[in-house]
Every structure is written in C-alpha cells, then in structure tokens.
Symmetry: none
Subunit: 204 residues, 4 copies
C-alpha cells in the first residue's frame, strides 16, 4: 500500500513523501473514525482504514491522545481559516450568522469535534487548546464586526456567544437532531442575539 516499489526507480527521497502521505491519510481517517465513535474508537481501526500498520500510526503520533489532538488542531485550524476568510465580508452580520450556522450544521457525525470544542474550551494546555483559542479569537472578530455593523446587539460578549456556539454545535452532533428543528433552534438564538432588544427593554 505504501508503494514501496517507488524506491527502486529513483533514490531521491520517496520515503519522505510516502511518510507525509501516510500521515495525512491517517489524520483524515482518524477524523472520520473519531468523528463517528469519539474517543472510544480504537486506534487499530484508524490503522486498518488508513491501510497502514498499527505501528505506523504510533510512529506518526506517539500516543492516541496525540492523534486525537492532531485531529482537533486540524479541524480547529480549518474552521479558523474559514472564519478569517470572512473578516472582510461585505455584510458582517451575514458573515457572523452564516459562520455560526455553518459550524453548527457541520457538526453531525463529528462527535469528537463537539467534545473537543467543549473540552478544549476549558483549555488543557496542549496544541488543541491553542488551536481552539485561535478559532475563538476569529469568532470574536466576526462578532465584533457584526456588532459594529449593528447586526448583533452590542451588549453581548464573546464568552457567552462562544458558549452558545459550542452548545448548539454539540447538540447538533448526534445525527438524530432533525435539520428543521436545528434551524428553528438557531433562529431562537439568533433572535436573542439581534439588536433592538435594548430598545425594547428600555421602552415602556
């Protein structure tokens, strides 16, 4: 599977490429496997589906926790990049709410991600926590922009917004939350985040 034949044709450094390929395949398989079964999924299953020996997995990721962390970092980074790509969107409100929806809609089947958003929120000091912070900061900027644009009330702050993001994302992770219900749930949250609240509250 790891195409050992290449080595014969040219002696430059096919191994390095092979290793990188393996690492990536392992990571991507792990994302799916842990997404399905959470931490309960076995490392052997990752190895099997990635078509590598179990020892190869452990060569690339010294412990199961490290593999899980790498999966999370990848996922957080990807989400952060998506958030960052919206920093200069024409409509900051649409950008914020759109990203919120996207993240929540993306959750189904990705148990580990939900768990991670959730655990990493507490910060465990590892790379995942760092990546999680990166995502959090990006969401913070999207929020700020939306607030400045008047699309989100000005008196909410990142901690509670992020907590809501984690909460709704996590709640959506199990496949059995109906899509329509999920949207109606988000509608309520988004309504709570919309401005004019103050106006209404201040009014008689």
């Amino acid at each position: 599977m790891s195409t050992p034949g290449d080595r014969g044709t040219d002696g430059r450094r096919p191994q390095r490429a092979d290793a990188r390929t393996n690492r990536e395949r392992i990571l991507s398989v792990a994302e799916e496997v842990f997404g399905r079964g959470g931490q309960l999924a076995s490392t052997e299953e990752v190895a099997r589906l990635a078509n590598v020996g179990i020892a190869t997995v452990f060569r690339h990721f010294p412990t199961k926790a490290a593999l899980l962390e790498a999966v999370l970092v990848q996922r957080f980074d990807r989400l952060r990049e998506q958030a960052e790509s919206l920093f200069h969107a024409a409509d900051p409100g649409a950008a914020f709410f759109g990203f919120f929806s996207h993240l929540v809609a993306d959750a189904p089947g990705k148990i580990a991600i939900g768990e991670a958003l959730y655990e990493a929120g507490g910060g465990n000091g590892g790379d995942a926590a760092r990546a999680s912070d990166g995502l959090r900061r990006a969401v913070g900027l999207l929020l700020q922009h939306a607030q400045r644009d008047g699309a989100v009330r000005g008196d909410v702050e990142l901690p509670e917004v992020y907590a809501l993001l984690v909460a709704t994302s996590r709640a959506s992770a199990p496949a059995h939350l109906d899509e329509e219900v999920r949207d109606r749930m988000l509608a309520i949250v988004f309504d709570g985040l919309a401005p004019l609240r103050n106006a209404r509250r201040q009014g008689p």
Copy 2:
C-alpha cells in the same frame, strides 16, 4: 466493609435496610462517577467509592448498562417531578424560565446526564428513554403554560426549545463554564424566546 453501625442519621436495623442503603449509595456514587467520566468510568471505581465489593454492585445492577440506566432514570424522574411541581405556579413564565435555569445550573459535573439528555433524546427504547420522555412532556406543559400567559412567544415549539435546553445544559456540564457566562448565555436564549419578536420582525 459495610460497617452497618455507622449509619449516623438513623439507627434502624440493618439487613434489608443495609441492602437498600447500599443500593442507594451505589446509585448516588454512580451518578457522581458517571457524571465525571461518562460511560468510560469504570464500575470498579463506583464500587470503590461506594465502599462495597464489585460483586455487590452487580448484585444490585446486573450490568453496567443497567446501572447507568438507573442513574439516568433517577435523574430524569427527579427533574420531571420538579417540573410538575411548577405546573400550577402563579407565574407560568417565571416557572418556565426558572426551571430552564435550574436544569442548566444543575448540570455541572454531570456529564452523563448531558449525554443522556442528548442520547435519550434519540430514544433507545429503555427505561431511560421512557423517563426522558416524561421529562420532555413536563417541559412541554411548562412551555405551553408560559406561552398562554404571553411569557414566551407563541410560534416556538417544544422540539427546538428542548434542543436548546439540552444544548445549554450540556454546555454547562463541564465545571469550567463560568457561572456568570452561563447566565449571560441563558439571557440571550431567553431573549430569543421572549414575545414581541413577531411584532418587531414584521415591522419595518
């Protein structure tokens, strides 16, 4: 191990009472242990912390799943009773929001409960699912009353409200969500649930 003499509060005769006491202690320890570690927590740890032999746990609950289910049923039933006690509250809105807050505030450290609210939402056919349904129905009534009283907008329905309840409860389960943040998160949700929304949305 069970040193029947040290039951300080009441000095009634052991034997049958001892067994009941053990059962209750096991249940309560299990609630805490599974609350911390989820299903991953070991039955042995439950036994150790309950100061009973492992076989005693299995005498009372034939399988680990049965123990977990008993924990959940107990918890769901307790919450349902609390909800039911609010059916005839003078202020249905306060009753609804109060119960919502109570359930979420009660969550910290009770991972299994969150998981259960969440999994049982899908219904696995066991006693826990039945108990979960009972809670859901009770929440449904509280919601209806609050809506009739004008404290909650009339266009939201139980599925999304319950999903929000599960989501925020679950998000609050880890101890590291600051209490103030949790309240601000709830404030947003409650705002989203408040009436006048339609009026505002329809207006220019």
Copy 3:
C-alpha cells in the same frame, strides 16, 4: 416451602424434620441440575430450584464438591441396591445383561453421573469413591453369577467389564445418541461378552 408454620403448633422438633426435608430436596434438585449441566451448573441454581436460600445449601453441604459428592454417593448407592436386588435372580445372565442395559439406558441427561463413574473409577478417596467401589463390587458379583451360569464367557474379568459399562454409559449420557443406535452398540458388546468365544478362537 420450608413450612415454617409448623413450628407454631407443636414445639417438639419440626426444625429437624424441616432440615431433613430441605436436605433431601436439595440433593434431589442437585442431582437433576448437575445431571444437566455437569459441574458447570451453579450452586445458586440448585438453591433456586430447591426453593431455599443459597446459604442453606452451604449449611447442608459445606462446599460445592461435597454436594456433588453427596449426589454421586446417592446415585451409586441406588444403583448398587438395584444390582444387589438381582443377586438371587432366577436367570443370572438376564440379570447381568439387564442391569448393564438399565444403567446405560438410565444415563441420558445424567452427565455428572457419567463423569463420576469415570472419575470415581480412579478413586479420589472420598465417599463417592467408596460408593463407587460398592457398585463395582455388586457388578462384580452379577458378573460372577452370570459367568457361573454360562451366560458370560469365563475369561473376562471385572475391570474390563466395568470399563465397558462406564464407557457405554458415558457415551449414552448426551441425549443425542439415538436409542436404537445405543441398543445396537450394546448388542455388539454383549456379543463380545457371550461365551463360545474361546471355542471359536481355539478352532482353526
């Protein structure tokens, strides 16, 4: 079940009677239970079917092995008595072959007996071995009588005959040996035990 009411009416010694009754019921249930499942059957099942607490079983038989031994002793003794009742039969040959057949036909479902005939053959020094020896001796007498009567060749001796008895009995223990096959198997053995063998062998 243990008729605890008797105690009230007369104070003499109903407990003794109760105990004896229990002991017998346990023994008889044990014979059936071990007969079905061998030593693998659990002592608890014996207690359950005998309608007594597990501790009662252990009061009467201090260990599981002792219970098993008691079962075997009872069974060996019963068989020995049956053999002895044939000592003065009019037709010693019919008596011998009849008893042989009876024992083998009685085997189905009595795994423990087969195992015991077999293990006890080696003599483990306990009561069961003693009872087994008693049976063996009784079979020996039946054999002698049959030989004197000319119904069994004179050159066979008890050890091999007993071994055959054990072997065929054991082979018949599982229910799945067809009755007809069992009889045809015995016919072969009985033929081998019939006299005139020597004559034939000595002839050219």
Copy 4:
C-alpha cells in the same frame, strides 16, 4: 518472552516464523491443557505454559471457543489422515482394528478430545463438527473395507461402531485406566465385531 534465539532445532529467521512457532506452541499447549482439564481449563493457563502473554493467545485465536475448536480440528484431521492412510492397506481387517486400537490408545490425557468426539458427534455446525464428520466418514470406509474382507460382521453399521469408538476412547482418556485392562476391554468389543457371530447365532 519469546526469546527467538532459543529455538534449538532450527535456526531459521524469526518474525513470521516466530509467530507461526507461537501459534503452534499455543495449539500444542492448549491440546494438553484442555486435554487435562476440559473446557474448564483457563485460557490464561494455556498462555502461561506456552510462555506467551494472554493477548497473544487471543491474537491467534479470537475466542476461547475458537482455540478449542482449532485444537479439535487439528486432532480430528490428524486422525482422519491416519485413517485415510490405511484405505489401501493389504489387510483391511488389521487396518480397521489397528486404527480403532490406535485411536483409543491415543486418548489418555486428552479429555477434550473425548468430549469433542462426543459432543461433535451431535454436530454443532462449526469447523470441529466438519472435521469430526471427516473422521467419521474415514472410519466408515475402513469399516466397509473390513466388512467386505470378511473381518467384521456385515450386519453392523457405522453409527454403533462409531459410538463404540467414542465410548471406549472416552473411557480411556483418564490416565488411570490400566493399559492391560484397556486392551482386554477392546478385545471384548472386537470379539463382538468379529464375524461368525451370525453363523453361531443361526446355528444350533
């Protein structure tokens, strides 16, 4: 643990060979351990005597039942091959009786084999049952040949002959059946199988 250097007999390279060696050692140890203690013997004991970790046993045989089955298949196959090697023997009678004796003489200490000959006779649908059937068929052919050759009476059929084979084999399994007794027991059976029986019976 597996100290690949100490394979005294042949110095071929380990790794794959090591695994095969382990597998074989486990199988052979299992044959002995189950031979002594039947299914009651523990897998751990097999591991201990085979000088491998318990997980190694389970790597080679996914369940205890699979290990037991492998032992039986091996044994049945070996016996079948021996039987087949006698198909074209010059003296079919000697072949049949010789194989019968061999099988019975081979039994001592191999309880599990006896149990298996016995249980598998009932057919449990697994590989062992298949292998058992193979052996049975081979014995059937040896019997036919012996009958055609006039060495075994023509009116006996495989079922009862096989039952006798199982019975005597099983009875010989415990080491405490004296060799001479065993032979005398077989002599009786063989006499019962010999021809001229009919003649004698029909004759005066």
